[in-house]
């Protein structure tokens, strides 16, 4: 390939090395029938999953289908507000800018009665004491602030129970 010769008036001009083209798109999210049921129950401080009629697993938050069997999950199952930490990570990067003081712990929590963990924060315990198998409970926002959002739970905290045996959550690690 031959060299490109610029017109004289462009010679010596600083080349454009990058451009910025910011874009923003807004969407209306549809949680769907199953997700809407779940969120409406959250507004009443209830955590409700759905059970697969084939494999009997309970999913939370439910998406209306069993991802293994591809069938509708219609039976609703009310879950406890307690659960077991299956896995966790200590966050040392300020992803959420000033909202969270680092380090903080983000964890997968297997709610009692469910078969798939949800992600949430673990607080009210030193970050280096969080561990798999730790029993935790949900801490809700004040009653007049509870709404159809998972932010109605501010975080989970240890509930003082002894650690759950590995057997009880081995399918979720």
């Amino acid at each position: 390939m031959s060299d490109i010769t610029l017109p004289e008036r462009l010679q010596g001009v600083e080349p454009v090395r990058s451009i910025r083209t910011p874009a923003r798109l807004d969407y209306v999210y549809t949680p769907g029938a199953a997700g809407s049921r779940f969120l409406r129950e959250v507004a009443h401080k209830r955590l409700v999953g759905q059970r697969c009629p084939v494999c009997q697993k309970v999913y939370v938050p439910p998406r209306g289908s069993c991802p293994t069997d591809g069938v509708a999950t219609e039976e609703e199952v009310e879950l406890g507000h307690t659960g077991t930490v299956t896995s966790f990570c200590v966050v040392n990067v300020p992803f959420m800018s000033n909202l969270m003081e680092i380090p903080y712990v983000s964890a997968l929590i297997l709610l009692d009665g469910s078969d798939i963990p949800i992600m949430h924060l673990i607080q009210e315990v030193p970050y280096d004491e969080v561990h798999s198998g730790m029993r935790v409970e949900a801490v809700w926002v004040p009653d007049d602030e509870v709404g159809p959002t998972l932010e109605s739970i501010t975080h989970f905290r240890p509930n003082g129970e002894p650690d759950a045996p590995f057997e009880s959550y081995k399918d979720n690690v």
Partner: protein, 298 residues
């Protein structure tokens, strides 16, 4: 024109009603019933499916990798052979058809879905343009179609009456499909009584904004004859695509001479491209502009 190796047929089909906005259910809930319906139509369970291919666009959903979550509607367990195209369902069918030519796949299930309603579709679709020179200008597809239509009208390639006739014909063709969003007997002249929406386009010239999903089951050779009394054999696949840069397209609808091909065969000898209004019955050219295209026929 490479000869195909295996006959492939559609043995089952299902679709949702297509509506302006489906806001009560999510994509998985939208797909699940018609996946079951299409499998039942072929008289098979998902264990008979050798390959699953889906077509959708994450830009419509506004969620990266949304198509992975949508697999929940099929239930990909035990692990399946699966692919996705960030394209429409026809392109997903084409990928499956090619895969079936290899002989490794006898039954393929293809689904396509999309909700255009969650975002401002005219803004969302600007993102398909090149990111340096066009995206920053946010030219939406209706504006681009209007520019093209203006060129065609000024050049005498077609008339507003012919454009209205395309819309009227499409509505007539959809008249017996209860799932179609826009349908019915309508006179082209009546359509022209409407005001212009984005000059020179009227509403009938623009694709409706719709939500919906569709599923087909493909089968090869004797498997197709086993699964269906009346398989619909795929006799040809025609795919056309435009150059990315708008400036290099021939927007007036003329195929470059070196690429001119006979139109897909039809009993009338006319081009079978659905939106084609040939300038003469024998002319092998389509409307709107198709500057680069490939035809596979046999």
């Amino acid at each position: 024109m490479a000869a195909h190796k295996r006959d492939v047929a559609i043995v089952s089909f299902a679709q949702t009603k297509h509506e302006r906005a489906i806001t009560e259910i999510n994509e998985v809930e939208m797909l699940m019933p018609i996946l079951g319906e299409a499998l039942a139509g072929a008289g098979i369970g998902k264990d008979r499916v050798d390959f699953v291919c889906s077509g959708s666009s994450d830009y419509l959903a506004g969620q990266p990798f949304s198509f992975v979550m949508t697999l929940d509607a099929f239930g990909p367990w035990p692990p399946i052979s699966e692919s996705h195209v960030d394209m429409d369902g026809a392109w997903a069918v084409y990928e499956a058809w090619v895969k079936m030519q290899t002989g490794k796949v006898d039954v393929a299930l293809i689904y396509a879905y999309g909700k255009s309603s969650p975002g401002d579709i005219r803004r969302v679709l600007t993102r398909q343009l090149d990111p340096y020179y066009l995206q920053p200008l946010w030219p939406d597809p209706i504006a681009l179609a209007a520019l093209q239509a203006r060129l065609g009208l000024e050049a005498g390639t077609f008339t507003v009456e012919q454009m209205a006739e395309v819309a009227a014909r499409s509505r007539r063709h959809a008249a017996d499909n209860p799932y179609a969003q826009v349908q019915g007997e309508v006179d082209a002249a009546a359509l022209l009584a409407d005001d212009e929406y984005l000059s020179p386009l009227r509403t009938h010239d623009c694709a409706p904004v719709g939500d919906g999903a569709a599923v087909v089951v493909l089968a090869a050779g004797d498997v197709a004859r086993e699964l269906s009394d009346r398989p619909a054999w795929i006799r040809g696949i025609d795919h056309r695509i435009e150059a990315h840069a708008l400036g290099v397209r021939d927007l007036r609808g003329r195929c470059p001479p070196s690429r001119r091909r006979p139109p897909p065969a039809s009993p009338t000898g006319r081009c079978t491209w659905p939106s084609c209004t040939p300038r003469s019955p024998t002319r092998s050219c389509c409307w709107p502009g198709r500057s680069a295209w490939v035809t596979t026929r046999w």
